[in-house]
C-alpha cells in the first residue's frame, strides 16, 4: 500500500473499486442545474467531461478542476470534484503547480477563448512548451460570453460587436497552430454538437501523459452562433477527404491551418490533430534533472516520520 493512500485516500481509490465509476458521481447534489443559457454549448462540455471520467477511471475526489472566469469558468460549479474557480486567464499557472505539488491528482484546467487565448495566452503557450501533464479544455465560442458578447480572440475578422461596431479588423488567433508551435504534445478540436467524439477526445486527453490541449467549440446562442452553425461537422479522422498523420508535426500543422481557416468559412472540422508520444512530461523531466522529488511533495506534511532538513545544517558556508 503506497503511502499516498494513507494521506490522500481518494487517490488511487478508483483502482480498488469493483463496481466502476458512474458518471453521475460527478453531478453535484447542489446546483443540479447550471446557470448557462438554454442551448449553450457549455452543457456539452460538462456532459462530455462527466462521460470521460468513467473511462479514465477517476473518482471525484482525486480530480482537481481549475477554471478561469467566464461562462466557461462556471464548469467547476457544476462538476462535482475538488475545484478551483480562479481568476480570469490564470487557471493554467494554478493548475500546473497543483500537479507539481501532488502528481497523484488528475488535474484538468478549463476556461474560455478569451480566458485562454486572450488574457491567458502567455500561460497557454508556456504551459504547452513545458509539457505539464494535464488537460486544458478551452471553451471556444468565438465570443466573450459572460461580459455580454464582445469580440474575442477567436471571433472572425469583420465580426461586429458592441465594442467593434464596424467589425473587427483583427485576424483571429489560430489556437491549434499556436498550441503546436508552443509545444503541446496532444492537440485536438471537438465540438459540443458532437458529444460522442467529445467524450472520447476528453478521455484521451486526460490519459495523455503531457500537456493536452482541447479546443472545444461551444456555441453561444445568446451572443453569437447557435448549435446549428456548428452542424454539419466533420471528423477529420473519419472523413475520407482528409488524410494526415497525427504523429507527424508537419502534416499536423498543415491540417490545423486548414481547419482554422475552414471554421470561418463555415466548415467545421474536428478531431485529433497532433499526438506526440514518448515525450516526457514536465514533472518527469524535472525529476530526472534532480530538481523535483520522487514522492509527491504534498504527502510530506502528513508524514510524521519525515526528517525535516534544517537551515542549521547549511551554516558552514557562513562561518
Amino acid at each position: 500500500m503506497s503511502q499516498s493512500t494513507n494521506v490522500f485516500g481518494a487517490i488511487g481509490d478508483a483502482q480498488e473499486r469493483e463496481e466502476g465509476i458512474d458518471r453521475e458521481e460527478f453531478t453535484p447534489g447542489i446546483e443540479p442545474q447550471a446557470t448557462w443559457c438554454p442551448g449553450c454549448g457549455d452543457f456539452g462540455v460538462l456532459k462530455a467531461l462527466k462521460g470521460a471520467m468513467p473511462e479514465v477511471g477517476r473518482t471525484p475526489e482525486e480530480v482537481l478542476l481549475v477554471t478561469g472566469i467566464g461562462c466557461s469558468g462556471k464548469l467547476s460549479s457544476y462538476f462535482d470534484s475538488y475545484g478551483f474557480h480562479s481568476i480570469h486567464g490564470r487557471a493554467l499557472p494554478v493548475a500546473r503547480a497543483a500537479k507539481l505539488a501532488n502528481p497523484g491528482l488528475e488535474v484538468i484546467a478549463a476556461g474560455g477563448d478569451g480566458d485562454g487565448y486572450g488574457i491567458g495566452g502567455n500561460h497557454f503557450t508556456h504551459t504547452a512548451r513545458e509539457n505539464h501533464d494535464m488537460t486544458y479544455i478551452v471553451f471556444n465560442n468565438e465570443i466573450f460570453g459572460l461580459t455580454k458578447g464582445q469580440t474575442s480572440p477567436t471571433s472572425p475578422k469583420g465580426h461586429e460587436s458592441k465594442t467593434q461596431p464596424h467589425g473587427s479588423a483583427k485576424d483571429p488567433v489560430r489556437p491549434l497552430s499556436m498550441a503546436l508551435s508552443a509545444g503541446a504534445s496532444y492537440v485536438a478540436r471537438t465540438a459540443a454538437v458532437n458529444p460522442q467524439q467529445a467524450t472520447e477526445i476528453l478521455a484521451e486527453a486526460i490519459e495523455h501523459d503531457g500537456f493536452a490541449h482541447v479546443d472545444f467549440l461551444t456555441q453561444c446562442p445568446t451572443w453569437n452562433k447557435d448549435a446549428k452553425q456548428y452542424v454539419p461537422y466533420t471528423d477529420v479522422q473519419q472523413s475520407e477527404e482528409y488524410d494526415f498523420d497525427v504523429h507527424d508535426r508537419r502534416e499536423a500543422a498543415r491540417m490545423m491551418h486548414e481547419t482554422e481557416d475552414a471554421l470561418y468559412e463555415g466548415t467545421v472540422l474536428t478531431g485529433r490533430y497532433f499526438v506526440e508520444e514518448g515525450r516526457r512530461s514536465y514533472g518527469a523531466e524535472k525529476a530526472a534533472t534532480g530538481e523535483a522529488p520522487e514522492t509527491p511533495l504534498a504527502e510530506r506534511y502528513f508524514d510524521p516520520d519525515y526528517e525535516w532538513e534544517r537551515s542549521y545544517d547549511l551554516l558552514d558556508r557562513h562561518r
Binding site: 490522500f8 475538488y82 474557480h85 503547480a97 497543483a98 507539481l100 505539488a101
Partner: protein, 636 residues
C-alpha cells in the same frame, strides 16, 4: 563617530569582484571576534560603474552603516567607459577615488591602486588630504597582482595592504582562502596577499587607525555571517516551505536564488516561470494542493501579483510573498533602497485587504518574521507578506549559530486529516463545508485535494460555505466578517506572544520618541544612543507588524512621549500616514524625517533631524540635512 570602529570601504567597478572581496573581508573580521555590518552601493549595470561596499566592524554592536567611513581601498574600475567630450557621466575611470572622498572622515586612510587610478584625475587630492588629515598610500596593486599572478588578483593585494595598515596579520585571510580555493589559484593568491602585506608593513605608517579591539558577544562563539535575504530564505526553509515560484527581479532575486539552490537537495521544488502573475498563481496552486509555498518579487513584479494576491485572500489559500523594495516609482532605481512600497503592499488588489504584512528590521528579525509569516498564513489561511528592501536584503550581520538551532515546522497549519474530515460538517450534498460561517477565530476547516471526504470549490467569487458562487447579502456579510475575524485573531495571537515583533529601544521613560519601521531600525537605535549621550531623552520603537497594525503597542509608545519623529525612506511619509489612519489621533505629535535619494540614512542624519525638530535650543523648523526632508506635524 568614534574611532573604536573600522569602516572599511572597498570601491571599484561592477563586475570587479568588489562584493565577494568585501564578504570575505567581513567574514575575516567576524572571525577575529568583532561585530560586523555591511552597506552596499552599486549601479544597475553588469560591468563597470561606481560601486562600493562598506564593512563596519567594532568590538561593540554595529547595526547600521556609520556616518561616513574611515578606510578607503580604491581599486580601479576595469570596465569604466572612456569619456568623451559630451559624456554626462564624467570620468568613470577616476570614480573609485573621486566619488568616495566626500564621505571619508577626518584622519581617514586611503589606499589606491596606482595601476589603474591616477592621482592627477582627482582635483586637489593632496590639498584635501592635508586639510582633512587623510593618510594616503598609493600602491601599484595591479602591478603586483599581474606580476605574481593575474590582474584580477589585485583585490587580494588590496586586502593584504589593508591588513598591514590595520596591524592585522594575514592568517585569518589565508584560512578563508584555503576554504574556498585550491591548487595554483590558492597558492598565487596567498603569495600576493603576503607580498602586499609585507611590502606595506615595511612602509612608514602615518595613521593611527588600527583594527578595533574587543570581542562582541555574538561573534564570540560559532558566529555566522548572513544577509537579510539569506535569513528570509532560511526562515522559509525552517518553516517547512518546499515550493517557490518566481521570476528574477532585483533585489528579490537574492531570496529566490538562495531558495532555488537549496530546495532540490531538500526534495523541494523551485519554478522559474514566465512572469510574476504566474509566479504568484503557482504558489497558490501548490499551496492549495498541500504544500507550503512562497513567491515574491520587487516593485513592478509585485505589482503584477496584485490580482493573484486578491485571489489568495478570497479563496483563503495560504501563501507567503516577499516584497523586496527598491526605489520607485516604476523601474525607478533598481539597485537602490527605499521604503516607498508600504501602501502598495498593504492595499494593492481590489476590495478590502485581508492579509498579514511584516517588515523585519534586522537580519535576525528577517528569519523570525519569515517563519512567523508562514505560521500566520497557514494557521489563518491568508497571504502573509514579508517586506524587506534593498538595504536589508544585502546587508550582512553576525549571528551566533545557536540562533538557528531549532526545530523546523513540519505541519501544514490548520488542515484536517481524513479522519477529522470524516467528522467535519458537510453539506447535505456531500460537499465539505470548507467556508463555514461560524468559527469564532474566523478560521474555517480546510481540506486538501485528494483527501477523501474533503471536496469543495475554492472560488475568487463570493461563495457559500461549500465554496459555491453566491451573491446573497447575508452570506456575504457572514463571509466578510469571518475573514475579518481572522485578522483580529492574528493580532490577538501576536499580542499574546512573549516577544513582540515591535522593538523598543532606549530609556523607557524617555521624553521623546523615534518611530520607524522595517530596515531603518538599527540606524534609529544608533541615533537614540547618540542623542541620549548628548543629553537628550529619547527612545525608539521599530515597528514590524504593519497589518494587522499593532495599535495597542504603538499607541502606548506614543502616549508615553511628548513628541515623536517618524523616520522612513520615502517621500510621502507613508508610515506616518498609516499610523494616523490606524490611530486616528496623535497627528499633532508626529513629525516626519524622510529620505528618498537612494541612500539609506546615516545615524547622524537621524540625530540632526531629531535635533532640528524637537528638544533642541538650536532648532529651526525648516532645517534638515542636505538629502533628507522634514515634514512637520499637523498644526505645528
Amino acid at each position: 563617530m568614534t574611532d573604536d570602529e573600522l569602516i572599511w570601504r572597498i570601491a571599484g567597478g561592477s563586475g570587479d569582484g568588489i562584493d565577494s572581496t568585501s564578504q570575505n573581508f567581513a567574514k575575516a573580521l567576524m572571525r577575529t571576534g568583532l561585530d560586523v555590518f555591511t552597506h552596499r552601493h552599486y549601479p544597475s549595470r553588469i560591468r563597470g560603474g561606481h560601486t562600493f561596499v562598506e564593512v563596519r566592524a567594532a568590538g561593540h554592536p554595529v547595526k547600521s552603516r556609520g556616518d561616513g567611513y574611515n578606510f578607503l581601498l580604491a581599486l580601479g574600475d576595469s570596465f569604466a567607459r572612456n569619456p568623451q567630450d559630451e559624456a554626462y557621466y564624467g570620468n568613470e575611470e577616476a570614480k573609485p577615488l573621486t566619488e568616495n572622498l566626500d564621505d571619508l572622515r577626518e584622519g581617514g586612510v586611503i589606499v589606491y591602486d596606482t595601476g589603474l587610478l591616477d592621482e592627477g584625475d582627482v582635483d586637489d587630492l593632496e590639498e584635501r588630504a592635508a586639510e582633512e588629515g587623510w593618510h594616503v598610500y598609493p600602491l601599484d596593486l595591479r602591478g603586483l597582482a599581474r606580476e605574481h599572478g593575474s590582474e584580477v588578483m589585485r583585490n587580494t593585494a588590496g586586502v593584504g595592504a589593508t591588513a598591514a595598515l590595520l596591524g592585522m596579520d594575514t592568517g585569518v585571510f589565508e584560512e578563508l582562502m584555503d576554504e574556498r580555493m585550491s591548487g595554483d589559484v590558492l597558492a598565487t593568491n596567498v603569495e600576493i596577499l603576503e607580498m602586499a602585506h609585507e611590502e606595506v608593513s615595511g612602509m612608514e605608517h602615518t595613521h593611527a587607525l588600527q583594527l578595533p579591539e574587543g570581542t562582541h558577544e555574538d561573534a564570540a562563539d560559532s558566529p555566522v555571517l548572513l544577509s537579510g535575504s539569506n535569513a528570509v530564505a532560511y526562515g522559509a526553509l525552517d518553516a517547512g516551505c518546499r515550493f517557490i515560484a518566481g521570476y528574477p527581479m532585483t533585489p528579490w532575486t537574492d531570496v529566490f536564488t538562495i531558495m532555488s539552490q537549496n530546495l532540490p537537495e531538500m526534495g523541494g521544488i523551485s519554478e522559474q516561470v514566465e512572469d510574476e502573475i504566474a509566479a504568484a498563481s503557482l504558489a497558490i496552486g501548490a499551496s492549495h494542493a498541500g504544500v507550503k509555498a512562497m513567491s515574491g518579487s520587487s516593485g513592478g513584479g509585485f505589482a503584477l501579483m496584485s490580482e493573484p494576491l486578491g485571489m489568495a485572500e478570497m479563496t483563503e489559500t495560504p501563501i507567503v510573498l516577499v516584497e523586496a523594495m527598491r526605489a520607485g516609482p516604476s523601474t525607478g532605481m533598481p539597485t537602490k533602497p527605499e521604503q516607498a512600497d508600504l501602501e502598495h503592499v498593504l492595499y494593492t488588489s481590489q476590495g478590502d485587504s485581508n492579509r498579514v504584512v511584516f517588515a523585519p528590521g534586522t537580519v535576525r528579525e528577517a528569519y523570525e518574521q519569515t517563519r512567523a509569516a508562514f505560521e500566520m498564513a497557514y494557521e489563518y489561511h491568508l497571504p502573509a507578506i514579508v517586506v524587506i528592501d534593498q538595504k536589508l536584503s544585502g546587508e550582512v550581520a553576525v549571528i551566533p549559530d545557536e540562533f538557528f538551532d531549532r526545530e523546523p515546522d513540519p505541519g501544514l497549519g490548520a488542515v484536517l486529516t481524513e479522519a477529522e474530515l470524516d467528522e467535519a460538517a458537510h453539506h447535505a450534498s456531500g460537499v465539505f463545508d470548507r467556508y463555514r460561517h461560524d468559527p469564532e477565530s474566523g478560521v474555517s476547516p480546510r481540506s486538501i485535494p485528494g483527501q477523501a471526504g474533503g471536496r469543495f470549490l475554492a472560488s475568487g467569487n463570493e461563495h457559500t460555505p461549500q465554496g459555491h458562487i453566491a451573491e446573497d447579502p447575508d452570506n456575504r456579510v457572514a463571509q466578510m466578517d469571518r475573514r475579518a475575524r481572522k485578522l483580529a485573531s492574528v493580532r490577538a495571537e501576536l499580542d499574546g506572544r512573549e516577544t513582540s515583533h515591535q522593538t523598543p529601544y532606549g530609556p523607557e521613560d524617555a521624553e521623546y520618541g523615534i518611530l520607524t519601521w522595517g530596515s531603518q531600525q538599527g540606524t534609529a537605535e544608533e541615533a537614540v544612543d547618540r542623542l541620549n549621550d548628548d543629553g537628550h531623552s529619547v527612545k525608539a520603537l521599530g515597528v514590524s507588524d504593519l497589518m494587522p497594525y499593532p495599535s495597542a503597542e504603538v499607541a502606548a509608545f506614543l502616549e508615553s512621549v511628548e513628541e515623536c519623529l517618524v523616520v522612513e525612506m520615502n517621500a510621502t511619509a507613508q508610515f506616518r500616514g498609516l499610523t494616523g489612519k490606524e490611530l486616528g489621533q496623535y497627528g499633532e505629535h508626529l513629525s516626519s524625517l524622510l529620505k528618498y535619494n537612494g541612500d539609506p540614512f546615516e545615524p547622524a542624519e537621524v540625530v540632526e533631524g531629531f535635533e532640528s525638530i524637537v528638544g533642541d535650543a538650536d532648532a529651526d523648523g525648516d532645517a534638515s540635512g542636505e538629502s533628507t526632508r522634514i515634514v512637520p506635524a499637523v498644526g505645528d
